[in-house]
Structure formats: structure tokens, C-alpha cells
């Protein structure tokens, strides 16, 4: 028996998702949504959905994200970004259990659109991203600035949408988009959720109620 659904929408256009100007000037953006049964009373990403996303993303490659977990367990001489008025710590991991913390970090709240996940190719080193680049990914123009991360080995960027109720995954190549969709579908079905790719109108309608 299904315990809910995870669904995707390719090439969305709506400004209500709060994912900046759509379509993006470079690459392709997909919306990823979820619905649990019964509907949870809490906001944010439900733990089973977060676990599914974590397994799917780490199967694609290395994930780098904002973290308040100090010291970073996967540090290995990789210095945190502490230039500027406030420290910004990045954690890079291929461990899905570690990655699941990204959806629960109150210092970088997913539910306030304060989190960003950088997807690098499998086996790649953590991207040498600069503080200014990183913080610009949290603003409305993120789809424009994200392209600059491509030379650093980043193949995709995931950000929370409005109120953290959905995610936007920006990929820079068709291969990365296909790999992401395949990984999401596989892990969604393994977690006993329904999977579908829907239109933007159907995507919005899934949340009603």
C-alpha cells in the first residue's frame, strides 16, 4: 500500500513557486513535490521523503550543502567558508544519512528557503565555491548565478521552493536531468511512494486540500 506520492514537473513557469525567473536562462529546472497520506500537520520535508531524496541524490554524485554541523565530519582539510560577517559552513558527502540532515538544519532552514544542495559528478572533489557565489544561490537570481558553478564540477543545484513545500532541481545537461529523474523514480518506488511526472497544473492540484 502506498504511503503517498512524489511527483515531478518538467519546465515549470509559475512565479508562485518562488524559484526565481522561470524558465532559467541556462539549463533545465524541474519541480519535485510530495504528498504523504495522511497529510502531516508539520511543514518542511517529512523524514521518509527526505530519506528518499537523500538516497536519490547521493546515487547521482557528491552533494555539498550548508550545514551547522561543526566540525564537519568529512572535512579532510577542506576549510569552511568563514570570510565575511558570519560563518558559512559547507558539508560535502556521499552518505545519504548525512545528507538527510540538510532538510532539518534550523540554521539553514529548508522551510525558510535557506538551504541549497550542489550536485557534483560521482567521485568529484568538493567544489571550490566562493562565499559570494554560494550566498547568491539563496537569492531570487540563483538560476542565473548557478551556471558559473559548472566549471567547478557542479552538474545540478537543488533549492527549496515556497515555504519549503517543494524543491527545484536545476540541471545543466540533459544527461544530468535524465539521471536525476531515473534516480528519483527508482528511490521513490523503493520507498513505497507513488511516482509520476505531471503537468504544472496537476502539480499544483496535488497540494490542494
Amino acid at each position: 500500500m502506498s504511503r503517498g506520492s512524489i511527483f515531478a514537473c518538467l519546465d515549470p513557469r509559475g512565479a508562485e513557486w518562488q524559484l526565481g525567473a522561470l524558465p532559467p536562462p541556462a539549463g533545465r529546472l524541474m519541480l519535485i513535490g510530495w504528498r504523504e497520506e495522511p497529510p502531516p500537520v508539520d511543514g518542511g520535508v517529512p523524514p521518509p521523503v527526505a530519506a528518499t531524496f537523500s538516497r536519490a541524490l547521493t546515487s547521482i554524485g557528491r552533494i555539498t550543502y550548508l550545514s551547522s554541523t561543526v566540525p564537519a565530519p568529512a572535512g579532510g582539510g577542506w576549510p569552511p567558508l568563514k570570510r565575511g560577517p558570519a560563518p558559512v559552513d559547507l558539508l560535502s558527502t556521499s552518505d545519504p544519512q548525512e545528507l538527510a540532515q540538510a532538510f532539518e538544519d534550523a540554521a539553514h532552514p529548508w522551510w525558510m528557503q535557506g538551504q541549497v544542495l550542489l550536485v557534483s559528478a560521482p567521485g568529484a572533489a568538493p567544489p571550490a565555491v566562493e562565499r559570494r557565489q554560494l550566498l547568491s544561490l539563496l537569492e531570487d537570481e540563483w538560476t542565473s548565478t548557478a551556471r558559473a558553478l559548472s566549471p567547478l564540477g557542479v552538474i545540478g543545484v537543488m533549492r527549496p521552493g515556497v515555504d519549503g513545500d517543494l524543491a527545484g532541481l536545476l540541471t545543466f545537461t540533459a544527461d544530468a536531468e535524465q539521471a536525476s529523474l531515473a534516480a528519483l523514480e527508482r528511490e521513490t518506488l523503493l520507498a513505497s511512494f507513488d511516482w509520476s511526472v505531471v503537468t504544472e497544473e496537476a502539480f499544483a492540484e496535488r497540494y490542494r486540500g
Partner: protein, 257 residues
């Protein structure tokens, strides 16, 4: 010998009344004070200034007002954690110190109603408030959202005004050190009073009405802050005067037996 006297009190019209025959004077003495006359334009008056009220009112916009019995939730007007450059779309928060547990009054697109509305967002506070994520906040929520939005900024302006007034009062005081003691003690006591009375107010309100809880909590914070500032200043002044007028004389040394 009889005579007359001139009764004088502030604001009264001078007049004469007969003095009984048993009253006599050895020498003429002037009346203790003449009638009060209005100040001429441009003249100054030495009124002691205090930034207590603007400071105490304003601090309610920045102090975490505890909500007893909620395992660390407090009323605030700013979010915890990262916020965008443009600011948060929420204006009223009931949250723990990390922001992990929160109920916030938000304005924007609501995925449940598919409209832009005033609604609640929450995480792990359902047992305290009984409000689910994305529940519409209604017209009361709209009014509270706007009030909180303006109070957040007006409160900061009031704090700055209160601090400036207090700083000027220190500079102008005949005893600057005494006045400085009063100001610092007033601020500290205002903070404590805000926390104490604000928490009491929040506890009085029904937990299922967060807007009422915020109103009573913030009101209590303001009242406690004003009372705390006044009490702290008064106490500091008394302590200063006592210390200033107290002299300690060392006892003479005596040879050991």
C-alpha cells in the same frame, strides 16, 4: 494693630484679606512666591529627561518573550536562522531558540489554497497550538501580520530614541555618574520586567489562540519594561545616594595582646 496679608499660591490672582488684630510683624517680609507667569517664547526649562518609556516599549520588538509550559517557545518578531536579503515573509514567530520548533504568521502563496493569503506555517508546535501547517489565518491574522510588521520597525526606532534621550540626560545631569547608574539599571530592569511580565501575560492567554497570546505577551512585556525601568532607575539612584553619603573610616590598628 490690624493689617492685611496677601495670600499667594501658584496661578492664583493676588488679593488682600484682613489680618486679625492679634497678628503683628516686627519687620516686613516678602511673600514666599509670586504668582506663576507663563514662560516667554524661547526660554528653556530644566526638566529631567528619561528614555524609559520609548526604550521599554521598543524593546518588546527585540526581546524573546518566553511562553511558559511550551518547552522553550518564545514570542518574537524575527526568524531564527538564515533570512533572505529582502527579509522574511513572516512577521510573527512563536519559536524555540534554534528555530527548529516554530509557528509563524506568513503572507504569500499557500499551496493548500492555491492563493496568496495570510496563513500559518508550523513545525513541531501542533501539540501546543493545534494549528496545522498552511492553515489560513483569516482577517485577525491579517491585522496581526500588519501590526507585527510595523511594530518590528517602530520598536527599533523607539529603542534608538530611548537610548539617545538617556544619553543626553546623562550629559546634561548635574551628577552624570548618578544618572548613568540610573540609566544602566533601568535598562537591565526593563529587560527583566519585560521577560517576567510578558511571560506571565503569555501564560494567561489560551494556548490555542496564538494571536491573543502575542497581544497579551507583548502588552505584558511593555508594562513590565516600563515598571522595571522606573524601579531600576529609582533603586539605582537610592543606592548611589547612599554610597555617596557614606564614609568608611578605617579602624586604628591595635597591638596584639
Amino acid at each position: 494693630m490690624g493689617g492685611s496679608r496677601t495670600p499667594t499660591h501658584a496661578g492664583a490672582t493676588q488679593g488682600h484679606e484682613p489680618i486679625d488684630s492679634g497678628t503683628s510683624a516686627l519687620m516686613a517680609t516678602p511673600a514666599p512666591a509670586g504668582p506663576r507667569v507663563p514662560l516667554a517664547a524661547g526660554s528653556t526649562i530644566d526638566i529631567p529627561m528619561s528614555g524609559g518609556i520609548p526604550y521599554a516599549v521598543g524593546q518588546a520588538s527585540v526581546v524573546r518573550i518566553p511562553i511558559p509550559g511550551t518547552s522553550g517557545l518564545a514570542i518574537e518578531f524575527s526568524p531564527r536562522g538564515w533570512t533572505p536579503k529582502s527579509g522574511s515573509t513572516s512577521t510573527l514567530f512563536f519559536q524555540d531558540v534554534a528555530g527548529n520548533r516554530h509557528l509563524r504568521l506568513d503572507y504569500g502563496y499557500n499551496v493548500r489554497t492555491r492563493t496568496i493569503d495570510y496563513h500559518w506555517n508550523q513545525k513541531r508546535t501542533f501539540s501546543e497550538f493545534g494549528i496545522a501547517d498552511h492553515a489560513p489565518a483569516g482577517t485577525a491574522g491579517r491585522a496581526a501580520y500588519q501590526a507585527a510588521r510595523y511594530f518590528k520597525y517602530a520598536g527599533r526606532v523607539l529603542i534608538v530614541a530611548g537610548v539617545i534621550i538617556d544619553a543626553v540626560s546623562i550629559v546634561q545631569a548635574s551628577k552624570p555618574l548618578r544618572r548613568a547608574s540610573q540609566v544602566v539599571a533601568g535598562w537591565a530592569a526593563a529587560w527583566a520586567g519585560c521577560k517576567l511580565v510578558g511571560a506571565g501575560g503569555a501564560a494567561l492567554a489560551t494556548p490555542t489562540t496564538p494571536l491573543g497570546m502575542a497581544a497579551v505577551g507583548v502588552g505584558g512585556c511593555i508594562i513590565g519594561g516600563i515598571a522595571g525601568y522606573a524601579g531600576g532607575s529609582l533603586l539605582a539612584g537610592e543606592v548611589y545616594d547612599w554610597a555617596e553619603g557614606t564614609f568608611f573610616t578605617p579602624l586604628p590598628e591595635a597591638a596584639a595582646p
